[in-house]
Every structure is written in structure tokens, then in C-alpha cells.
Symmetry: C2
Subunit: 284 residues, 2 copies
């Protein structure tokens, strides 16, 4: 139980900050901008921030950490992959609708498309995200990819996922910046109007959500334990002395802890092993 509470101490703030970001984006467009619609006007444009923050930030953030929820470690890997892919597919759908909204709005008002850095980085991110989704589906969800290929692709898949999540947040910050300079003229953005302060705070909240998700996603003690049959893929090709040995070998290094290892993380990880020892986990 201890590991559940420790994880909840991170998860609950992350979900609260993410959910609050979605709510504040809705407040922004409903209270400060003229609301939502689908008529080629600014009302249609307003779907763009709402759907991006909901799908590309909040839902993608949850999709990234879904393997790390300790109470899902009992579930089959296939089920978790389906949830991970499903959440990312929902995010991709919302992103697609949000892009239709903004292109519709531009075209209806004869506003040029794709001239700003926000649009360049944003479209690059969307294209790479769809490629990531496609390759993830082909390599990890369909059963045909050999284990060696999965082993080679997995670090790239994980790195790309976190990088794209960071790029989404950077693109959001550019989008907020652009929008505030467009619309805040009287009073101007530089006179600290309520909408400017409000949207700046929203931007900081999105950064905080990203920081929490990236922290959870890179802590070794919350990494889903390996499946028992993964002992076949030990680095030296040898067998380990048991499941605990396998997992303790795999958690030590994360990112660049170059001075020494964290005994507290080792202890946390050992506690989590109780789940495996119960023998309730199923494999794909």
C-alpha cells in the first residue's frame, strides 16, 4: 500500500494541475473571448486552444504515465498498451479537429496559414506525433514485430514521446503569446489587463503540468516491472537469479545519476516488488 500512497502524492497534484489547465482554457475562451461555435469566426478558432490543451496536453500527459500507475501492474501488458494507444488516439483525434478549426477560421477570414513559428513547430510536432502513433501501433501493439526490433525501437519511442510532449507544451506557450499580442490592444497586453495575467498564469500551469508528468515518467521506482519472460533478454544473455534480481538490475540508472545510486529508490522499488511476488500479474 505504501507505494500506492507515494505515487498518489505525485499523481493527484499532476491530475489537478492538468485538469485545472483545461478548465482555465475553457474559462479563457468562454469568459474573455466570445465563446465557442463552428461558423468560421473567432468562436470556431476558440476550439483550437480548448482541444489542444484537453487532448495534446492533458490526455497525452495521462497516456505517457499510464504504465506507471502501480495498481495497473497487475493488468496484462496488452491491456495497458491498448489504453496507452487509445488515449493517444483520442488525443490525436482532438488535435485533428483543433487543426480543422484553426484552418477553417483562417480560410474564412482570408488569414494566411502557416507563417508563424508557432505553426511551424506545431505542425512539425503533429506530424511527428502521428508517425509516433503509427510506428507504436505497428511495432508494439501488433504482435508481429520480433522482440529484438522492439528492444531497439523502445528507447527511441520513449524519447520521442517525451520530446514531443515537451514540444507540445512549447507550442502552447507560443500560441498563448501570439493570441495575447493579437487580441490585447485596448487595454494593451503591456498594461497588465486581467486577461493577460490570466492567460500567463495558464501558461505557467501548463509548464507545471508538463514538469510533473516528466518527473513521474522518468522516476525509476514507478517503472512498470518487467514481465517474467523478459529474463530472456538480459544484457549479457545470461539468466538472472529470480525476478527480484531482474528488476533490481533494471532500475538503477535513470538519466545521468553519475555520482552514485539512490538507495531510497532501491528501497522503493523493492517495496513495489510485493506486487509481483503475489503472482497476480499476467503477461501479454
Amino acid at each position: 500500500m505504501e507505494c500506492y500512497w507515494g505515487f498518489l502524492g505525485l499523481l493527484v497534484p499532476a491530475l489537478l494541475v492538468g485538469f485545472l489547465s483545461v478548465i482555465l482554457t475553457l474559462v479563457w475562451v468562454l469568459h474573455y473571448r466570445e465563446g465557442l461555435g463552428w461558423d468560421g469566426s473567432g468562436l470556431e478558432f476558440n476550439w483550437h486552444p480548448v482541444l489542444i490543451v484537453t487532448g495534446f496536453v492533458f490526455i497525452q500527459g495521462i497516456a505517457i504515465i499510464v504504465y506507471r500507475l502501480p495498481w495497473t501492474w497487475k493488468c496484462s501488458k496488452l491491456l495497458m498498451k491498448c489504453i496507452h494507444a487509445g488515449l493517444n488516439t483520442v488525443a490525436a483525434t482532438l488535435v485533428t479537429v483543433s487543426l480543422v478549426a484553426v484552418f477553417d477560421y483562417h480560410n474564412a477570414g482570408s488569414i494566411p496559414n502557416m507563417y508563424s513559428l508557432h505553426s511551424w513547430v506545431g505542425l512539425t510536432t503533429v506530424i511527428l506525433y502521428f508517425l509516433q502513433l503509427l510506428f507504436g501501433f505497428l511495432v508494439f501493439l501488433l504482435p508481429w514485430a520480433p522482440p529484438h526490433l522492439r528492444a531497439v525501437i523502445m528507447p527511441i519511442h520513449v524519447y520521442s514521446g517525451l520530446l514531443l510532449f515537451g514540444m507540445v507544451i512549447a507550442t502552447c506557450l507560443m500560441g498563448v503569446t501570439e493570441k495575447l499580442f493579437f487580441v490585447l490592444n485596448n487595454p494593451s497586453y503591456s498594461s497588465f489587463p486581467p486577461e493577460g495575467v490570466f492567460a500567463n498564469a495558464l501558461g505557467l500551469l501548463i509548464v507545471l503540468f508538463g514538469a510533473l508528468i516528466l518527473w513521474i515518467a522518468t522516476r525509476p521506482q514507478w517503472k512498470r516491472p518487467k514481465e517474467p519472460d523478459s529474463t530472456l533478454l538480459q544484457p549479457h544473455g545470461g539468466k538472472t537469479e529470480g525476478m527480484e534480481g531482474t528488476v533490481s538490475m533494471s532500475f538503477v540508472n535513470n538519466l545521468d545519476r553519475s555520482d552514485s545510486d539512490s538507495n531510497s529508490e532501491a528501497a522503493a522499488r523493492k517495496r513495489n516488488l510485493g506486487l509481483e511476488e503475489s503472482g497476480q500479474r499476467s503477461t501479454m
Copy 2:
């Protein structure tokens, strides 16, 4: 030698992209903006992007990966810590001057300070960066912190460093966005003027530099091998069977490789061990 060439294949493109970003920033201010000066005018402001991209992006990027250069693994850890801290101090100095330039420019022209999201995220990043530098100095460079404290702080230090680097890049992108909307009026940014396209390309180049640095910084095979005395800090408190055992335990897991481990990374890491076997490395 093989590991050197493999690393160079990543390092050279990263340095080229970073150096090109600095050059393009100089071209932007010298060719498209009116150049550099220190008179409270736009010429003084122009030091801001030049010093930020040089110090906060390029030099900080090198500081992040300096431990990972294989040919430095023979050097003492203390020397490498001094280089890491020294580069970050140079970056912090350039950032300070760049902030003086922008506040001077604002104050001389009676332009309000700190109203935009760029400034909010940017100042937050700078403050956290200085705190990171201070805590890094106190905990890792001065000899008084006990190993246990270093072990606890190290994952936070590494995570914060990479997160702050990402925040710097996001802030740069917002800065480019702001500047282009300010200055491109006739012809407007939306008519794809050369300066707009040029600065957008610079923004993408900065993103690419960040992506390369983060890739290098998170690959387990380029992690500096542990010092021999770090066997005292093995997760289960036990001794390992030798240096190779220590390192092979420490490289397996990076981020969230949840399907299986990469045998190719294991092989790469084993090749790198040749350096240690030569017995040339010194410890702090």
C-alpha cells in the same frame, strides 16, 4: 576507438546545429535588425537574443553533455565537475548581461517590464537555474556533502537540469514569436517576409539542438562509468563482482523501456569498458 566514433556521430551534428544557431542569431540582429550597441536603444536589446542563444542554449547544452564525452572518462571526476560548473557559470553570466540589456532597453524607452508570458516563464527559468547552480556547487562541488545526500539530490539535479534546458528553449521560441510580431509590420509577418522565414528557421534549429542534446544526455551507453569506490553504494548494499558488473547493472534501464532491454546498448557499453580496463581513470 569504435565508441569514440559512435559518439562523434552524435556530438558533431549537435555542435554544428548549436553553433549555427548562434551564428544565425548574430545574422538576425546584424543583418535584419540594426546591429549591436549599448545605448538603451534596440541595439542594446539585440544583445538579449545573442547572449541567450550563446549562453543559455549553446553553452548550457555543452555543459549538460560534458560528462558524456568518452575521452573525458579518463579525467578525474573533480575536473569534470569543475568544467560542468564552469560552463554553467559562463552561461549564467551571459544570461545576467542579457537581462540587464533587455531591462535597460525597456526602462530607456518606458516599455513596461515583465508583462508577457515570455518574461514570466523566462524569469522563472533564470531564477531556478541560479538555484540549480548554487545547490550544485554546495552539494556536488564542495567536498562536505555526505554521499547519501548526493545520492538523494542527484536525480533531482539531473531532472531539473534537463527540464530547465527545455524551458530555456521554450522561452526562446516565445521570444522569437514576440519579436517577430513586434517588428514585422510592413511587410507583415503573415506575408512571409525573409526575416520571418529566417527567424522561424532559427527557432526550428534551436529545437533540433535541444533534441540532440537531450538524446545524448539520456542515452545509457554514453553515461560516464561509475567510480570504482561507488560499489559501496550498490542498491542492496552488497559488493559487486567487479567493475564490469557494476557498470552493467547501472546502464540497463533508461526512462521507460518497458518491453525489454536493448542488447545493442549492452554491447556498446561493454565496448566502452575498455577505457576502464586500461586502468587510466583517476578518481576524485
